[in-house]
């Protein structure tokens, strides 16, 4: 694709300082990057963040934006139980953003890449009307992989961390929900600085039989639906067991709508054949774990109360349920 000299300079500057590990034979600067032969199965995924759709620049720092663009991809590799290794980055740039902005964006991206031991091996810059960061990430699957289609009736459903915080943070940032002080800061941070559960995912992939797993990017209900659809099963989710942070409760009280339907948490949802206590699982996975229900026969997800009966409808949840 034809480029202007400014686009070349930007690519060159952004990629000049990148450090790379031994898996990368040739980094940015040629037509392709070259990676060492993968001796194990390779994972590959692509994800994109678009200005005005997934973020606004005034919401956070360029560094956080760069890191988050990688994290959403890392989370896909975590959900498969893999180890991320290398990525290529496509930046769609718009007028009005200066070199300093892109340096900071890339600094955040690099920091996240280094923390995850991922090499940024190539990049491309194109003009556009809105800023967009599209990253393709490759990784290794050494042992088992945790797939969406592995859930079986009787499996126990677990989730890492807490649910709905990022969705609240997003709504605080765009003014739809009000919050103050530490609660506000915590929720916004959960949206702007998500963490991919790479270590937990890799440990899950060692369980036998391999658990079904997915990362919660679109909201628990929607992502549970993907597991149910691929596995050909149903689920009962215990409304009282959904892990909510104190900040979530402070803002939303008992309203489960965003815990069920909000996205951007990047926690892991998984189904295990053997019942394990959340405390034991938490120790093994290195992250807080909650048991939230079971896989059942059928094709639908049901939210049940403490009495085992269907819980009352929750705003924003019934409509999503219809998808499963």
């Amino acid at each position: 694709m034809s480029k202007t000299p400014g686009e070349f300079e930007l690519i060159a500057r952004l990629t000049a300082k990148l450090r790379r590990g031994p898996g990368t034979l040739l980094g940015p600067g040629d037509d392709c990057a070259i990676l060492k032969p993968a001796r194990v199965r390779e994972l590959i995924t692509i994800d994109s963040m678009v200005e005005g759709v997934h973020f606004r620049l005034e919401w956070g720092s360029p560094e956080a934006l760069g890191a988050r663009a990688l994290t959403v991809n890392l989370s896909d590799v975590a959900a498969m139980g893999g180890r991320p290794t290398a990525c290529v980055v496509n930046l769609a740039i718009r007028p009005g953003l200066d070199a300093r902005f892109f340096d900071r964006l890339y600094a955040g991206l690099e920091r996240a890449a280094e923390a995850a031991r991922v090499d940024i091996v190539g990049g491309n810059v194109t003009r556009a009307e809105a800023l967009a960061i599209t990253i393709a990430l490759v990784g290794e699957a050494r042992g088992g992989v945790t797939l969406r289609d592995a859930a079986r009736p009787g499996d126990y459903l677990y989730v890492t961390g807490t649910l709905g915080d990022a969705a609240l943070g997003w709504r605080i940032l765009d003014g739809r929900i009000k919050a103050r002080g530490a609660v506000r800061r915590y929720l916004i941070d959960r949206f702007l600085n998500p963490v991919a559960r790479l270590a937990a995912g890799a440990r899950l992939a060692r369980f036998r039989p391999a658990p079904a797993a997915i990362d919660i990017s679109d909201g628990l209900w929607q992502d549970l639906g993907h597991i149910l659809e691929r596995s050909g099963v149903g689920a009962e989710v215990d409304a009282a067991s959904l892990p909510l942070s104190p900040a979530y409760r402070a803002v939303a009280g008992d309203d489960l709508a965003l815990a069920l339907g909000g996205g951007e948490d990047y926690e892991l949802l998984f189904a295990l054949r053997a019942e394990k206590s959340p405390a034991e699982l938490g120790r093994r996975l290195g992250v807080a774990v909650s048991r939230i229900g079971r896989i059942v026969r059928g094709r639908r997800a049901r939210l049940v109360g403490a009495d085992g009966r269907a819980a009352p409808a929750v705003a924003g949840y019934d409509q999503l349920r219809e998808r499963t």
Copy 2:
């Protein structure tokens, strides 16, 4: 990233029919695709086409657009002498495009992928203000690779095919240049339906020493500049030897501006240590080849006339030369 049900349905429909080869262990539908261990060095590249920047929908069919989005990536693998194997596709979709449009876009993409024996192993759909197709492509480098940094003083410079046709086609489409009949159709076709020189690139990679090579996506002068910069050399290009199609001459006469500065040709530019006749090279590479100059000491590219003196300035060319 949060998705609407419509986005899910679109991903599911677009990826449902994809056929995949034995290198793909798991295709679309999970968090990542899974590829067989590569065993040889792996190539990876990413490129993007943005509506309003690289194309307009009224210029050609959705099928051609889908095919072209892959071809620009295939060309990067061709320039390294590799064999493309798998790709992941990020579609940024805007309002106003219907399911039929995306079916046709994907049909063209699939046809191009099948012709190149590339598996489409994953996809992502996101909302945006403008349509954009971003593809990350992986491939194999079995034997040698043809890099930008391998040119040495004394090497002979060659190019496949003809130059500037696509740039003329682009300008005809957006009304900046007028042409009629077969000439018009030929030039527009060269822009809308470029061909990646995969077979020629793979054969070049068997030459010893491995040639320097690049694909001409940004225009001969700019892409030659990348070889010179990476190799630390200069070049003399013989103005009279630039391969121009009859259609180019019919529209632009002797004006070399777009042969030198126009992009989108996706021909290969390469530098060989040994002098070979273009006819012999053409037979070995399976495509027409022209010898256009030599690599020299220094850091600059010079365009020379038949008398060996600097050729007169060409519109649109001097400014580009300053980059090298």
